[in-house]
């Protein structure tokens, strides 16, 4: 018997004998080391035999696997590993049989064997082959390793080991295939759709099991998965980043991981930190398209996605936007718009939409943050272009809140962008194409919108972080006095305005002034509005002030004071306006250090403190006021008003050219026209509440007359500015204007002739640009005014549909006619 066996043994080929000899009688003993060395030596010296060795080992192994002789299987694997390491350079076929064995071992239901096989595979993956094999397929390995990542084996330790083995296996495949174009394309969606969800699932598991504080084991599935994912993503190129991102997004969808989005954020952080810099925008882009795909979904989901977008944008920084800047903003704005247009009575839904809108706005802010400054302005202009401008006519009448809401949202967006902008030169921050619509917006009907516009102005005007110190709303209002005796208390940072800024304000100042002036007149102003207006005023004088426009500013202040005297705004408004004027004159008085003016101002303030505290900010801006706390009469005694003559003198004494100040209504030629108009309005509507009054067509015609008139006078008021000071044809005041309207023609004609002459002269002498700029500004304001008037009219004739159309026509044509 033995002899026969011996005989057989002798007949066996040498390689078989060598292979057999490495297996001990008892599998517990492990590999027979000496014999293994012999086998390795044999393999390296006779590479042509390697194939056979491989096949024979494979045969033995598959037999052992079927008979579940785990011990022998491990030995075979070990032998294979060693052979592979020693002789890999020589034989492709050997690798084939090696892979087949790994395959076979993986098929075993035995966890131990699966783990073993994965380890062998990883060893194989670490070997650099010099001869590529084109026909090798990793299909099964990808499938199996992915499945292992989801293992639910018991007990937990085994499960974790299997999962980790699966993850390592996946990593091995990636390592093996990714660097070589001739290999299987691992980026194919077929594979990625298995690999990515497996990685994410492992990450997810770890996320839920242990909190972030607990020490991480090196070999927990979560840690390994993260490593593998990073490894994978950093190898992704432009062409195949998509196949990574798609399954990620899908996985997050299916597992409903957008709400809450902690995990999604985590994943995208990993992605962003590992992806090659130049592809960062691809990630953002995919998220955006995903958002598009979810357009119809719950706002909470969308908010989750947008949140993730903003997180990734923060990481990607400059690289986040990619080639299509506007596209990104356009998409976000579109979502904002569609969200705003959702109409629902469901409380929760409304809240969700609101959160979504917030998220979108924040994200836009993050995007904008990464843009160069000039592009930020462009973006603001772009957003501005999206703002529906119909509100002047529509809002009041239709009561449709949608547009207002959209406007509010878009303006908030702009505010967000604006806060990221660092103003250096005013002229850059406010290009005319941006400033014009912005100021037009500042006269919107909705008080909230006006407030936001003012805030935008604040952030753009404010270069030295002063606005916080100028807002009285701050919680610690006890410490901040509204009207400090000494301006130092406010701790303002003041820097002298540059030449360019002075040029800017000279050119655009009137626009600002008239806007502020008109804002004061708005009936539905709230305390916030007034505060914001004060802030704008103060910022203008701090940032752009100085001697050059001081007179203009004082004029404006006086003009504003006159509103409260002459108009019939509610008591609360009047008080607030008086308060603003007081605070403001105090501020500019001290800023420009004109002693006489300061004295006068503080005298008046003291007087008010004693006799009429309601005309000071401490009272007027107090939100806890009730109707009853205000005085019943709006009449303010002259001694409590700032006296123009005194201020005039004070300014003159310091060498200011106050000739223009003498004509109060030229303070701002625009406000003058405004006042003129106001007056005529009052004349016509005997009762004060003209808004509620029935206004018929006759009224509106006379309105237009009065406007034409006031425009004329406003042109004349330009003449002083044009360097013909002192030649002002008449001392235009409230009263005089009133006279103009009511008095007989002769005088009017005469004055008109003079005005015409002045205009002619101006047009003949002044440089073209200057004229154009002035007229542009004017026509803009004029248009505003006009449309406002027409709105009022149309509001009062709600039923009269054609009216709306005519307004549109006027709106379009009047300025053109006037300008050219």
């Amino acid at each position: 018997m033995t002899g026969c066996c011996g005989c057989c043994t002798a007949l066996k080929p040498r390689y078989k004998r060598l292979v057999d000899s490495i297996f001990p009688d008892n599998p517990e003993d492990g590999l027979v080391k000496d014999n293994m060395q012999k086998l390795v030596y044999y393999g390296t010296s006779k590479p042509e035999k390697l194939d056979r060795i491989g096949q024979y080992l494979e045969q033995r192994l598959s037999r052992d696997v079927t008979r579940s002789r785990t011990g022998y299987v491990s030995i075979s694997m070990e032998a294979l590993d060693q052979l592979l390491l020693a002789c890999h350079a020589h034989s492709n076929l050997f690798v084939e049989s090696f892979l087949k064995m790994v395959h076979k071992t993986l098929e075993s239901p035995e966890p131990q064997l699966q783990i073993l096989a994965s380890q062998s595979f990883v060893k194989f993956a670490n070997i650099e082959e010099d001869t590529p094999s084109y026909h090798r397929s990793y299909d099964f390995f990808v499938s199996k390793f992915s499945s292992m990542c989801h293992s639910s084996a018991e007990p937990e330790t085994t499960r974790i080991r299997i999962r980790v083995a699966g993850l390592h296996g996946l990593q091995g495949i990636v390592k093996k295939t990714v660097s070589d174009d001739l290999q299987v394309n691992i980026w194919d969606p077929v594979h990625m759709n298995k690999i990515i969800p497996s990685l994410l699932y492992s990450l997810q598991g770890c996320n839920m099991d242990n909190d972030p504080e607990s020490p991480k084991e090196d070999e927990s599935p979560g840690v390994v998965a993260e490593m593998v994912l990073r490894d994978l993503v950093c190898r992704a190129t432009f062409g195949n980043i998509t196949s990574v991102l798609k399954p990620v997004l899908q996985h997050l969808d299916y597992h409903k991981l957008w709400v809450p989005n902690k995990f999604a954020v985590k994943i995208f952080r990993i992605l962003m930190y590992s992806v090659q810099d130049q592809y960062g925008h691809m990630v953002v882009h995919h998220l955006m398209s995903h958002l598009d795909a979810h357009n119809k979904d719950e706002p909470r989901v969308k908010a989750g996605i947008v949140d993730v977008v903003s997180e990734t944008v923060v990481i990607a920084a400059g690289g986040s936007v990619g080639p299509s800047v506007l596209e990104v903003f356009n998409t976000l704005l579109r979502h904002l718009k569609s969200s705003v247009s959702v109409q629902t009575s469901d409380r929760q839904r409304v809240l969700d939409e609101k959160n979504f809108q917030e998220a979108v706005i924040n994200t836009i802010g993050e995007f904008a943050n990464n843009l160069p400054d000039y592009q930020k302005i462009e973006i603001m202009m772009f957003v501005m272009g999206k703002v529906p401008l119909l509100d002047l006519e529509e809002d009041v009448s239709s009561g449709d809140r949608k547009d207002t809401l959209l406007q509010t949202m878009l303006l908030k967006t702009m505010l967000k962008v604006a806060t990221k902008y660092r103003t250096v030169l005013m002229i850059n921050a406010f290009p005319p194409a941006f400033l014009d619509p912005l100021l037009r917006m500042s006269l919107a009907y909705d008080a909230g919108i006006r407030l936001i516009v003012q805030e935008i102005l604040h952030t753009l005007l404010d270069r030295h972080d002063n606005s916080g110190k100028l807002k009285f709303v701050s919680e610690n209002s006890d410490t901040i006095t509204w009207i400090p005796k000494d301006i130092q208390a406010l701790n303002l940072t003041v820097e002298k305005a540059s030449q360019q800024d002075i040029f800017f304000i000279k050119k655009n100042g009137p626009q600002f002034y008239s806007c502020i002036y008109e804002n004061m007149l708005q009936e539905n102003n709230k305390v916030d509005n007034f505060e914001a207006l004060y802030c704008t005023l103060a910022l203008l004088s701090i940032e752009l002030g100085g001697e050059d426009i001081l007179v203009d500013l004082v004029r404006l202040a006086m003009g504003i004071q006159n509103i409260s005297v002459s108009s019939d705004l509610p008591v609360t408004h009047t008080c607030a306006i008086h308060a603003i004027v007081a605070a403001y004159l105090n501020l500019i008085g001290q800023l420009s250090a004109i002693p006489n003016m300061c004295t006068h101002v503080s005298e008046i303030i003291d007087a008010r403190k004693n006799k009429a505290p309601h005309l000071l900010p401490d009272f007027a801006f107090n939100r806890s006021n009730t109707e009853q706390s205000y005085p019943t009469s709006t009449n303010v005694k002259d001694e409590l008003l700032f006296d123009q003559a005194v201020i005039n003198e004070a300014l003159t004494s310091r060498g200011y050219d106050t000739s223009t100040l003498g004509t109060p209504f030229t303070i701002s030629r625009l406000s003058q026209s405004r006042l003129g108009r106001m007056d005529s309005w009052f004349a016509e509507t005997s009762s004060g509440s003209w808004l509620q009054d029935e206004v018929d067509m006759a009224h509106s015609t006379s309105d237009i007359h009065s406007i034409t008139l006031s425009i004329d006078s406003s042109s004349s008021s330009q003449t002083p500015l044009m360097g013909q000071r002192g030649q002002a044809p008449e001392d235009i005041t409230f009263e005089s204007l009133k006279k103009i309207i009511t008095e007989d023609d002769v005088e009017r004609k005469r004055s008109q002739e003079m005005k015409q002459k002045a205009i002619l002269e101006k047009f003949q002498t002044a440089p073209f640009e200057q004229i154009v700029a002035k007229i542009d500004a004017e026509s803009m304001v004029f248009q505003n005014k006009l449309s406002e008037i027409l709105t009022t009219i149309s509001d009062e004739n709600k039923d009269n549909a054609p009216q709306h159309q005519t307004t549109a026509v006027f709106d379009m044509q009047f300025p053109d006619l006037y300008v050219y």
Binding site: S143, H150, S152, N193, Y201
Partner: protein, 207 residues
């Protein structure tokens, strides 16, 4: 030498809790695990059967029914040679979902994949909600084969997998006889979807 002649991939799909895992375990291990938990992701089993004297290896991928795993399970359809769509005859909703599953198959699986519709839990006759005829009719409409099984009573389970093995072997043989580009390499190509299962059948390996 290889211990099988053909290798086929079979994928089980269907709603959660219809008994996919039980079917597979009954077939591969011959047992019925009471209180089987929900499958996570994808599970893998292997079983070799004999068809006309040839050894046929079935790679069985048992997918999770839960919707959240849809992303990973879908990726397994494509390489399948046969799909087993399972529903629970005692649970109307699992039947109602079938059209959705058909849509999934159309989207993700290869076009000519062999599909079986299986009504499981046929042992619970008292609770039956879907009559066999309706199931059969539905299967016919969508050109699927139909079987009712009981993993618990081992009814029709073996038959199901054997039928699949026989059918796929038949297809493979037909395909093998037809001259094909890759037949020279000795690989058995499946007609469906270019998936390349493979048993090695090369003569050079027959030493």
């Amino acid at each position: 030498m290889e211990d099988y002649k053909y290798l086929f991939k079979v994928v089980l799909i269907g709603n959660a809790g219809v008994g996919k895992t039980c079917l597979v375990r009954r077939f591969t291990q011959g047992l019925f695990p009471p209180g089987q938990g929900a499958t996570i992701g994808v599970d893998f089993m292997i079983k070799t059967v004999e068809v006309d004297g040839d050894k046929v290896k079935l790679q069985i991928w048992d997918t999770a029914g839960q919707e959240r795993f849809r992303c990973i399970t879908q990726s397994y359809y494509r390489s399948a040679n046969a799909l087993i769509l399972v529903y629970d005859i005692t649970c109307q909703p699992t039947f109602d979902c079938l059209p959705n599953w058909i849509k999934e198959i159309d989207t993700y699986a290869s076009s000519k994949v062999l599909t079986y519709l299986v009504g499981n839990k046929s042992d619970r006759l008292l609770h039956r909600e879907i009559p066999a005829e309706i199931g059969e009719h539905f299967a016919k409409q969508h050109s699927m084969r139909y079987l009712e099984t009981s993993a618990k009573e081992a009814e029709n389970v073996d038959r199901l997998f054997t039928e699949i093995a026989v059918e796929l072997t038949k297809q493979a043989k037909e395909n093998f006889l037809r001259p094909r580009q890759d037949s020279t390499s000795g690989k058995v190509g499946m007609p469906n979807g270019g998936s390349s299962p493979v048993g090695g059948l090369s003569c050079c390996k027959l030493n």
